[in-house]
Structures are given as C-alpha cells and as structure tokens.
Amino acid sequence: MAGVNLKIDGVEIEAPAGENLMQAAVRAGVRVPGLCQLDGLSVVGACRMCMVEIAGTPRPRPACATPVGESMDVHTDTPRLREHRRVLLEMLFAEGQHICAACVASGACELQNLAAELGVDHVNFTPPPTRLEMDLSHPRFGYDPSRCVLCTRCVRACAEVEGAFTWGVAGRGRETHLVADLGVPWGEAESCTSCGKCVSACPVGALFEKGTSVGERRVPRALVSTLTARRERESHREVLK
C-alpha cells in the first residue's frame, strides 16, 4: 500500500494510506489521549479527547476518525488542546458519580488515568444531586450507570463482536443511558450471552464483575481487540484444510 508522508508533533513519518491519525501518531512516538476508541471496534469519534490540530484546518479534528493525508502537519498537544481536554474531562467527571476511592476500576481506569495525565486535579463542575440505581440483576456482572461515560464501547462490543445487540443507547442529551434489550434488568435480558465482552471493553468501572471490590478489576481491555484481530487473521488462513 502506498505510504503517506506527514508530520506529527514535528516528527516526520510515513504511514499507510487509510490509517487514522491516532494509529499514525504511535509511529511518531506520540500517544493521543482517547476514551471512546478501542481497537477492534468501529469508530464513533464521540468523546472528543483525541482532537488534534491540523495546519490549515479551521477546527480541530478527532484523530481516531481522521485518515492520514499527504503532507499533513498535525499537532496533538497544543496548549489549547490541553486546556480543552481538561475542561471536557472535568465535565465528564461531573456527569456521574466518579469516586475513584470507592471504585472497582481504580488503578485500572482510563478516566482516572486521563485525569492524571491531563492534569485534572480537581473538578469545577458539580455532579448531579442523585445517584442512579445499580443493576445487579445479572448473575455474574453488575452495571453502575453513575459511572458510565457513554463511550458506547460495550454497545459496540456487544453488537459488532458478540452479535448479541443486548446493549443499546436510549434517551438523548443528558438523559442518554444504556439499556439492555427493552430496558429490562440486565439479568433478564434474553439476548445476553453473558460473554463478558462489554465488561472487558468498559474503560471505567461502570460494568464490572461481581465479587470484585475496590481496585480489583481484572478483565483485560484488549480482549475485544485480540478477538477481532484473531478472527480477521485466522479467517484468512486455511489452517484446517
């Protein structure tokens, strides 16, 4: 495949055409922050953490959803981007009840890590005055909507990898929330195969394994990526012939 030459944070690189800026940045030794993006799942570009500036483009673009272009001059870490990411992250914290000290994912949480990385050391917005009820109806897993960041990775893992379409997005605006099947308790969702891919894809502690306590999250996030990569690779191989 023809290579594309571009510059990311001053580093000149060559990337295959069709690759997105988030992937290409790795070639330049740059990690662009992200939350809704997970290798192996479709791209939605919704969290806006990976916004980057491209010289000559009036508005920042999401790196996860922008293909590399010849002679692009990309900046991933300008003061403006840093400031905006911090404000966005603060708002994300204030959308739910994120108390790391009392969360199963603490220490293995992408939201917690992003805050540390971006220097969000306090939050200027006030969290909602109510806490949403946890769904503990599933025999193996739990769902805490107050910790959900609406990245929809679980929804995509469930639909695109498992093919169950158990999880869906309902409501809109600030009322947007996850639903299982027709809004039934997770444990009563007939379509759920209990495969756990949603739990593994969750960047935070919204979906968790029952029986795990603060800081005890174990499931690997890369599971979904590994599965899709393996499926892609092995389906091309004629191993069983």
Binding site: A159, F165, T166, W167, G168, V169, A170, G171, R172, V179, A180, D181, L182, G183, V184, E188, E190, S191
Partner: protein
C-alpha cells in the same frame, strides 16, 4: 404464524416486562395492517412507532416487543429509537391535553407565564399528567404559529395570542364538555333501560 403472534409469544416468555398482546384486541389488527403497509421494513421503524402511538396512545413494552420482532430489530435498538424522539411517549396521556408552545416568538411574548398559570390553576407540573388523569400539560417547541404568539393548544385547538385566563377557561370548557357528553350518554343509556 404471523409475525405478531410469534412476537406475542416471545413477549410472553420474556415475563412481566412485556406480556403478550391480547389476541382479541382490535388494535392488534390495526397494527398488523400498518406493519404490512410498510412491508415489515426495519427502516420504517419511526413510521411504525407513530402508528403505534396513534393506535394505543403511547408505547408500551408489550407493543415495542411486538414491533421489534415484526421488524426483526433488536429490542435495544427499538427502545433506543423510541426514546430518542420527543414525540413518543411511554405513558398514557390524560383525557385532555394542554400544549403550551415555548418557541422563541412565544417565549418573547410570555410563554413562561402561560405555562406557570396553567400549571398552578390545575395543579399539574409541566410535562406531567394530573393524578386523576384528567389533564396532561405539555410543551411544544414551536408549532409554527409565531404570528399569533403566544399560543397554546387545548386538545389540538389553537388558543391564539393567549393569556393564562383564556387558556384556563378553554381547558375548563373542554373538561366540562366531556363531562356533559358523558352525562348525556349515561342519560341516554338510562333512558333505554340501562341496556348499554
């Protein structure tokens, strides 16, 4: 076996959340007609949901399960669409509805006072239905009658250049009309020896 029937069976199996649609309910036939009209196409979901709301007044889990099955859509997707659009409702509306337009022109001309006036007079919160089920107080985002602002709709009839008192009176009239109509029906029935 019709799609509807299998949906009903599936919904029955799902338990309390979505019981089967009663087979002898005439509304089921109306819904089936609508589903046939769109040839069970999944992309007609929004049209179908409009039809369901026309037929049933609101979207119940039972009917949504039926629709999901008939259109071969995951239930999570059906609920996702149904809850995205503001015109769909999941609870039965009151006997009467008052819709106050809160578009810009009406806002500038005092829609807030209109809403507050009705809300206070009938003890019903914005977006809610009175406990006795007699009145739902709704808001609309511009009904396009800006020249007549502020406007309210009482059971679908426009009250133009509305003052709170006028809207309150229109609601009272609508309520009284239906009460006297009911009374008339009862009297008529009584007159026929209560055969009704």
């Amino acid at each position: 076996m019709s799609a509807l029937r299998s949906a009903a069976a599936a919904a029955g199996a799902a338990g309390a959340a979505a019981g089967p649609l009663p087979a002898d309910d005439p509304r089921v036939a109306l819904l089936t007609t609508q589903l046939k009209k769109v040839r069970y196409r999944a992309d007609a979901l929004i049209d179908v949901l409009h039809a369901v709301q026309d037929i049933y007044g609101y979207l119940s889990p039972e009917v949504l399960t039926t629709v999901a099955d008939a259109l071969q859509l995951p239930p999570s997707r059906v609920l996702g669409v149904a809850t995205f659009y503001h015109l769909f409702t999941f609870e039965a509306r009151g006997d009467h509805t008052c819709t106050v337009c809160t578009g810009t022109a009406c806002f500038v001309k005092g829609a807030d006072a209109l809403m507050a006036g009705v809300s206070e007079a009938f003890g019903v919160a914005q977006g809610a239905t009175r406990e006795d089920g007699s009145l739902s107080l709704l808001e609309a985002r511009c009904i396009g009658s800006c020249g007549l602002a502020p406007v309210a709709l009482v059971d679908g009839t426009i009250v133009a250049k509305a003052k709170p008192d006028a809207v309150i009176a229109a609601i009272r009239n609508a309520m009284e009309a239906s009460v006297s109509a009911e009374g008339a029906v009862r009297e008529a029935a009584a007159g026929e020896g209560g055969a009704a």
